[in-house]
Subunit: 514 residues, 2 copies
Amino acid sequence: MSIEPAELTDLRRRAREISDLTGIGGLLLWDQNTMMPPGGAGARADQFEALERIQHDRLTDPGLEKLLDALEPWAASADPDSDDACLIRVLRRDHHKAVQVPTELAAEISSAAAHAQQSWLEAREKGDFGHFAPALERVLELQARYIACFDGTGEFAHPYDILLDDYEPGLTTEELSGIFARLQSELVPLVSAAAAAGEDGHVFPGHFPREAQQRMADELLHAVGFETEHWRLDPSVHPFARSMAATDVRLTTRWEEHDLAMAFYSCLHEFGHGLYEAQFEPRHYRTTLAEATGLGVHESQSRLWENLVGRSRPFSEWVLPLLRRNLGGAFETMDTASMYRAVNQVRLSLIRIEADETTYNLHIALRFELEVAMVEGRLTVADLPEAWNEATHRLLGLETPSVMEGVLQDIHWGAGMIGYFPTYTIGNLMAAELWRALSDDLPDIDGQIAAGDFAPLREWLRANIHRHGRKYDSRELLRRATGEELSVEPWLGYLEGKLLDAGLLTAPVRVPRS
Amino acid sequence: MSIEPAELTDLRRRAREISDLTGIGGLLLWDQNTMMPPGGAGARADQFEALERIQHDRLTDPGLEKLLDALEPWAASADPDSDDACLIRVLRRDHHKAVQVPTELAAEISSAAAHAQQSWLEAREKGDFGHFAPALERVLELQARYIACFDGTGEFAHPYDILLDDYEPGLTTEELSGIFARLQSELVPLVSAAAAAGEDGHVFPGHFPREAQQRMADELLHAVGFETEHWRLDPSVHPFARSMAATDVRLTTRWEEHDLAMAFYSCLHEFGHGLYEAQFEPRHYRTTLAEATGLGVHESQSRLWENLVGRSRPFSEWVLPLLRRNLGGAFETMDTASMYRAVNQVRLSLIRIEADETTYNLHIALRFELEVAMVEGRLTVADLPEAWNEATHRLLGLETPSVMEGVLQDIHWGAGMIGYFPTYTIGNLMAAELWRALSDDLPDIDGQIAAGDFAPLREWLRANIHRHGRKYDSRELLRRATGEELSVEPWLGYLEGKLLDAGLLTAPVRVPRS
């Protein structure tokens, strides 16, 4: 065992402060979207700006660089998987990215995002894209200045890669172009074959009073692993999850009395996010290792619970009595097979977060296309609604009747998050790969889910994914958990298998590639 | 007009950051007491500590001292009432106090308070003072170290003065001893004469469902000046008010179905606090002037709305129909005179926040006595419950049946706030003085209140008190608003007058002093 250098104590102290500030930032964001009176938005933007300024100063501090330099020789000889070696690597990366960007710009980006988020909320209330446009223009202008900061590094082949790298390190426009091209070409025949057999309308027909939905969500979440001691659930316009620490995890959902699927699936989705952050290794608390290694992995966890668990046959079997108990109605006469079929129906639709599993990635392809066009300067904010509608027609075959069902449906751009959407697709692909691996380790996973025993699954995810936090990058984490590289094939194979199993496809459509 | 020195820009930038951090701290505290899952307490304590460390570093920064020194000659020649001169004075004070205290100690105090607050909540659930005792011992030990930091300054005559000065600058143990001695000697005959005529039991007899109370509180608060755009109301164990900015004001209350007075009066009380912070001068936003000048003034605002408005005859007249509309029951047959009498009944009771206006200051006298004894080292935490019970017997003539109705009733010591309680009494005294002055300026104040028109009162408070923030210290503010010094007489005169008016005293008891 090599002797621990004195600089490590100082490095850990710095990591502790950065981690505490990140937790505080989480609270500011959660509160803004759940509790804050609308008139508090201006002050909240200022508070975000102040926090970002401090956070950025900490990361760019020359003292941090000196420490990292001094620790380099020690790290080179230390076990590369040790916590300290990983902490050094992660802080080196964060420092390296932060120093490219002036504090003033980082603060402006943070404040502009908070303002734009509020504009988006107001624009939705008015149903008016024009109300949101100036704030989005400001976000894009600042993103362009942010991208320009990395000009000299020679690390990125495409300007959009710089944004992607913040959400999913190492992900590139080129890789994504290939993934989306493949997905689109494979999905077109699949969708047209399956959609023919699909039904119209909501997944769960009927009117479900909010109180009954809340009781249902409460029972559902507690069954999968939500603990009152450490979690909470609140309503918000756009469902999300955020933790202030592994011991303080907040989920949100949206109660739609005519669309039970909104709360049902968003609760499972956000639970998957929450569980990732709740199961970080406790000894990483107050270090920068207790964070998600990338948002692709984060979304793999949410989509895994939403789809690979929540839209499976054994889950349908287990959850039906729970739905009957809390909601009655249509569930009294529904059986497992018809529920399984209903929740996997393929239907081209306008709203991403309501989309079925099959067509979901087409919604992401659309956003990827528009984001790249905006970043390349080929698409202006003024032309965005029309471009959105055109792409919706081209990719989904649908007309967009209003901005609420079109360009104003997602909070992300309003929150300054450009380059985030592709992580949903990466997450879908990873989730299918993880499921293959965990099914090998847990041969009775279907039986366990049907019995409502989610503990083995939670534990597998903890041991293989969650606890590591940022110790390994996404690809390395995937490799360790599955032995595989990121690939489209497992997801396509899983999807077709399920559509066949549910009776939504009568015969295979795809020619599997290996 | 003197030319503005360049250093002012830097000073304002620093004030902006300190102010933003204060707003963030407000959110952490509000969330901890309203929304946070209990298991998040440990991480919250760490976040408080991190924030306090940054805040303290900012205030003690030698760069700030240099700036203040450089600005001194300019400030000496500037209008002393100008914003900039006041900002320099206020920052000088904050810097001077902060540099006495090592950052490490400030951080420890902040973390210990967050932990102790959680211990207090848990101890209340268990009804066990022993569960809270170690956390309180830690708080006291840190307070002793804090007090020792000021040993060398020669600015304080008594160690307790150092704590008082943090809540109400300039307030001393000596002045308070005089005030409480006078109050006790005057209140004894008043209480015994009035309590003889008082009734027993709750102010508003009956059972009031929570939902009905919420509707009542909603209507009541909106009538006095609560705006949904900028305010919110939530439940908490101990009612409090906190703002993140003048545009984001949060109140809490407690719903007790068998004790309507709890929500009714705590809403008015916390509204008074909230309105102070909502009416800070907008141009002081993001400066250290947009803060309360002292907690005595803060409490004068809460006690003014709770008592001088909320327990007045015209308010009873106005509010009765509102109570009938929302709560029916006993209010159907109650008339203004009987309500006015009921809400002013004098009854020696155990719980401070449920105490009537007459006996309230005796509860504060008790806490003042115990705090001074603890600070002087004459009273240990182990002996505190017994000392509490003894003082309750001596001052209020009552036995204390449980720690919940005794030493565990208030959150303050758990939140690290020792030296805070006396500000309630200072607030009571100031409120009576302010009322005399505002009654001169608003001769129809009674008619306005009876008609539910609270705008003139809000505006008087805004113009004379709220907008100034920290521009003037409490005594100067009181002088400007009333032309008077702090005094016990106006409150005693007001109180006796009201008890006579309500028929709770049949003849004057006191011999007024001028």
